[in-house]
Structure formats: C-alpha cells, structure tokens
C-alpha cells in the first residue's frame, strides 16, 4: 500500500474535530483548545475504546429482549395478535407487501445485527493492533455510521400505528415493551459508533512504518 510521507499526528499536527482547523499541539497537552472555535483538541478521542465497549455491551444485552419481547399488539373484532419484530416481518411478508417486508427486515433485523458485529470486529482489531484489511474495515465503519439511523424505522411505525388505530372496540394497536428495548438498542449502537475513533485503526500502520 502506498504511504505518502509521515502522518500529521506524527509531526505534532492535530485537526479540530468541529471546525477542521489544523494546529500544532504538544503530544500530552490535554488542555489545548482550537484557536478558531475553542473546542478541546486531542489527537485521538479520549477513552474511545472503553466507551465504545460500554455502549456496545449494553446494546448486546438489550438486543435480546428487543427481539424476544412483544413489539406491537394488534386487536380487531375478529383477531388478536402479538408481534415481535421477526413475526411482524413474516406477517407483513405473507399478508401485505413483500417489498415492504424486506425493507423492514433490513432496517430492524439486519442493520442492528450488522452494527453489533462490525463494531465488535473493529474494536477487537484495534485492540490487537491489526493492520489487516484496513481499507475494508474503514469501509465497514462508514457503512455502520451511515445506516445506523434507519433502524429507527420500526419505532416510528409503532408510534404511528399505536396512535392512529384507536377505533373503540373495532380495532386497537398498542406498543409492546419490546419497542422500549429496541429503541434503546438503536440509540446505544449509535452512541457506540460515535465514540469509536476510526483514526485508531491507522495507528498500527504508523508504528509499523516508524520502526
């Protein structure tokens, strides 16, 4: 892989993560602030890995109730059903629109799982100082950042349906407690992705070069 010169961090330059201004910074200066926007400057996000792990583990734990508990209860004159995320998708596939079922499946099942797995992979690889497949790992991180928000889809659907379908004795929809856990998983994985500092992935490469 081509490696153009020394890194900015190696030469004591640090870019501000708010306004992008590059300033010179002493290696261990914790109180330095950006001259333009007064944001605290640091070469790497402090405690990035620990915080990311914390959010990620919390998300893993809540992922279980999010998928097992009831997301939505639907009652009509002739039927009554309780749906988890998965059973809701299956019901939609058979009785609604398969295309929409695929969208919901991707947003509510694939995306959260993908985020959990990818963030774990990234954290472990940074911990081990791995330089393997760095370009692919950067790509994975970008995808995680990009698609994370779309998991919120199911929360919005539940909100709308539970509020709208309230026709006394004919039809009612209620949100289930699975929705709480699911919402928490989405928020926690978004926080985890924000805490992770992708620049950490490049550091082993720099060390290897400077040796």
């Amino acid at each position: 892989m081509g490696w153009p010169g020394r890194s900015a961090a190696g030469q004591g330059f640090c870019s501000c993560h708010v306004c992008g201004l590059v300033s010179r910074l002493e290696q261990d200066d914790c109180a330095a602030r950006c001259p333009r926007c007064n944001t605290r400057l640091h070469f790497r996000r402090p405690d990035s890995l620990q915080r990311c792990w914390a959010f990620l583990i919390a998300a893993y734990i809540l992922y279980i109730p999010a998928n097992l508990m009831i997301m939505m209860e639907t009652g009509t004159l002739i039927s009554y059903r309780k749906d988890t995320i998965l059973s809701g998708v299956i019901h939609l596939w058979h009785n609604g629109n398969p295309g929409i079922a695929v969208i919901v499946f991707v947003a509510s099942i694939l995306v959260p799982l993908f985020k959990l797995v990818v963030l774990t992979l990234l954290l472990v690889s940074v911990r081990r100082g791995s330089t393997w497949g760095i370009k692919h790992r950067i790509l994975l991180y970008r995808i995680v950042e990009l698609v994370g928000r779309w998991s919120m889809l199911d929360i919005f659907v539940v909100t709308l349906l539970a509020a709208l379908v309230q026709i006394q004795s004919f039809a009612t929809v209620r949100a289930g407690s699975g929705a709480i856990a699911f919402g928490a998983v989405v928020v926690l994985t978004m926080f985890a992705a924000m805490e992770f500092d992708p620049r950490l992935m490049w550091d082993p490469l720099r060390k290897e070069r400077e040796l």
């Binding site: 201004l21 629109n97 919005f156 909100t159 709308l160 349906l161 539970a162 509020a163 026709i167 709480i180």
Partner: protein, 164 residues
C-alpha cells in the same frame, strides 16, 4: 449560501405545515381517527410508553426544529455579510445534533405504516403526509448545499478583522 438560505426558509415553512396537520386518517365502517405527529407522540405517552414516545419526539420533532432554527440563525445574518455572536457554539451544536434528526427515516415509517393499514382501513392521506415528503427532499438539498467551511472562513475573517 443564498441557495442554503432559500432552502432553509422553505424547509421551515414546510416543517410548520407538516406538524400542524394530520399525517394520516383511517376509516372503518364510519368510525375514523386521524393524528398529527404531535398527537401521535402524546397518544403514545398516554399509553405508558414515555421512552418510545420521547424518542420519536426528539428525533422527528425537536432535533429537526432545532437544526432549522440554528441554520437560520447562521444563514440569515450571513446573507447581509455578518455573523452573530456564538457562531462557533452554534456550529458545534449543529454537528452534535445532526445524526439525531431523522425526518427521512420517519418518512419511510409513514410509508410502511400506510402499507400495513391499507388492507384493513380506508386511508385518508393528510396534508402533512405530502409536507413530510417535501420536507425530506428539502432537508437533503439543504444538507448538500450547506457548506460549513464557508461559515468557518467567514469567522476567520471576522476574527482577523477584530484582531487588527
């Protein structure tokens, strides 16, 4: 930046319309119901779902509104060539809240709800349904036309002028 200002103003107007009218109405044998976004959030709150309700409130109502207000705070004075105090804090706040504004996801949520409802009910699309569609497009256009670097370079100039 002129284009950003125009888009932000249009988005703000559409935002107000989208939040004041019902999104969808349903009808079943003469009984019906219709809700605005705020009513939906309130209804869910009453059903003992404060967390889910707050999450929707923050991501679909509060953050988009805050985002538009902050952008107008920057863009309106910039149109006349100056910046108001607190610009760098506003820019920072914009960056922090950006991921939590989810109008486009909410729009998809409306469509999925529509598909789920269409079998059992007669659907009456509300004014806000179209407004949210328009708002999604305007916000996407605004995001791509708004260039933070323009603001920062204006701020640089201002600081340099004041420094001299």
């Amino acid at each position: 930046m002129n284009r950003s200002l125009a888009l932000a103003v249009a988005a703000a107007i559409l935002y107000l319309i989208a939040n004041s009218f019902p999104i969808l109405g349903i009808n079943l044998q003469g009984n019906g119901n219709a809700v605005t976004l705020l009513q939906a959030v309130h209804e869910l709150w009453k059903q003992d779902m404060p967390l889910v309700s707050s999450l929707t409130f923050v991501t679909a109502i509060f953050v988009p509104a805050l985002e538009l207000c902050l952008m107008l705070y920057l863009l309106v004075p910039l149109n006349r060539g100056h910046l108001l105090p607190g610009t760098s804090q506003v820019m920072r706040l914009l960056q922090v809240i950006k991921p939590w504004g989810m109008i486009e996801v909410f729009m998809l949520g409306i469509l999925v709800s529509l598909v789920k409802l269409v079998q059992d009910f007669k659907i009456i699309p509300g004014v806000a349904l179209w407004s949210f569609g328009g708002l999604t497009l305007l916000l996407a256009a605004l995001t791509s036309s708004f260039n933070p670097r323009d603001i920062w370079s204006h701020l640089d100039l201002k600081q340099r002028r004041e420094g001299l």
